[in-house]
């Protein structure tokens, strides 16, 4: 696991490390992202308090990676539901919502030549974020806002990684 206090984007870093030959299941986690992004490079609000991480995935079939992306949303939602008394909803394939507001986003990126060279999956979870800028207030929420208390980012990270490992093992068999 590679931990950063500040990073431009964990997905960007994961892609760089993957191309330099980093091992599968290397996790890049940051306390804040200066240029976090989601689908089509739309920026992802990433202040301190949130959980931002990317995982270098083992070489897999593209169909399995698509399945994993969808399953990642289920894993994040299940982790929230099982550990906190909240009712998350999945907006397929990339987002997890609470009370119709975004609480987590997922972005899988592949580097492909003639075949897949590297794959990474990035997850941004609004965990301990106190407040959002005005333009995001109506569309984003955090676990802390919903629960009225802080959550343990490290434990959540551990549970999500475990879930992803189990699922990828199952689908690629």
């Amino acid at each position: 696991m590679e931990k950063f206090k500040t990073i431009s984007s964990t997905n960007q870093k994961a892609k760089e490390l993957a191309q330099e030959g980093a091992e599968p299941w290397t996790v890049i986690v940051a306390e804040e992202q200066k240029a976090g992004y989601g689908k089509e490079k739309v920026s992802w609000f990433s202040p301190k308090g949130g959980l931002y991480f990317s995982i270098i995935l083992p070489k897999s079939q593209i169909e399995d990676l698509q399945t994993l992306t969808i399953l990642a949303a289920f894993i994040v939602a299940k982790t929230i539901k099982d550990n906190f008394s909240l009712e998350p909803l999945i907006k397929l394939p990339n987002d997890v919502l609470i009370k119709q507001k975004k609480v987590a986003g997922i972005l899988t990126e592949n580097i492909i030549g003639k075949e897949i060279k590297n794959s990474i999956i990035g997850i941004g979870l609004n965990s301990n974020i106190d407040e959002f800028p005005r333009e995001l207030e109506k569309s984003a929420t955090s676990l802390k806002i919903e629960l009225g208390r802080e959550v343990d980012n490290e434990k959540i990270l551990e549970m999500i990684i475990k879930g992803l490992k189990e699922q990828l093992k199952t689908i690629s068999q």
């Binding site: 892609k15 330099e20 990126e109 592949n110 492909i112 030549g113 003639k114 590297n118």
Partner: protein, 138 residues
């Protein structure tokens, strides 16, 4: 290293030399081809002119001209979201060519060949099929 191989009754004389660190010259029947490791650690054909300064690529007046593919095709079907090269761009092996959105994922298409872009065959927001030509090289 020198060797000979026989393919369909034709004998090819092969001479392999390391020209610079990580750059191999393979001479096949007096014709030179150059290879270097790309970012993924695989050997890919390169144009030594693009590869590095100071490499003795002009030896015998021969430069790489043979094995590079002249087309870059889309490995999967999807929608092109960004194109990073244009006519005249010099392309190296491992270079990002385009981003394609497919199967709910973002896919960076990288070159596995070298050359200069002659024509970009696709536009942003366009749907492409698997194996469709994206770029033609000179």
């Amino acid at each position: 290293m020198q060797t000979e191989i026989k393919i369909k009754n034709k004998i090819y004389r092969i001479d392999i030399n390391e020209m610079a660190e990580g750059l191999l010259k393979v001479k096949i029947n007096n014709r030179n081809y150059f290879f270097a490791k790309n970012k993924s650690g695989e050997l890919a054909s390169v144009d030594p002119k693009l590869y590095a300064n100071g490499v003795e690529s002009e030896e015998n007046g021969i430069i790489y001209d043979g094995l590079a593919e002249k087309e870059i095709k889309s490995p999967i079907a999807g929608i092109i979201s960004s194109i990073y090269v244009k006519k005249g761009s010099k392309i190296k092996s491992g270079q990002k060519i385009a981003t394609l959105i497919a199967m709910k994922m973002e896919n960076e298409i990288i070159a596995e060949t070298v050359g200069v872009v002659k024509e970009v065959k696709v536009k942003e927001k366009q749907f492409v099929n698997s194996n469709e030509i994206l770029i033609i090289l000179e």
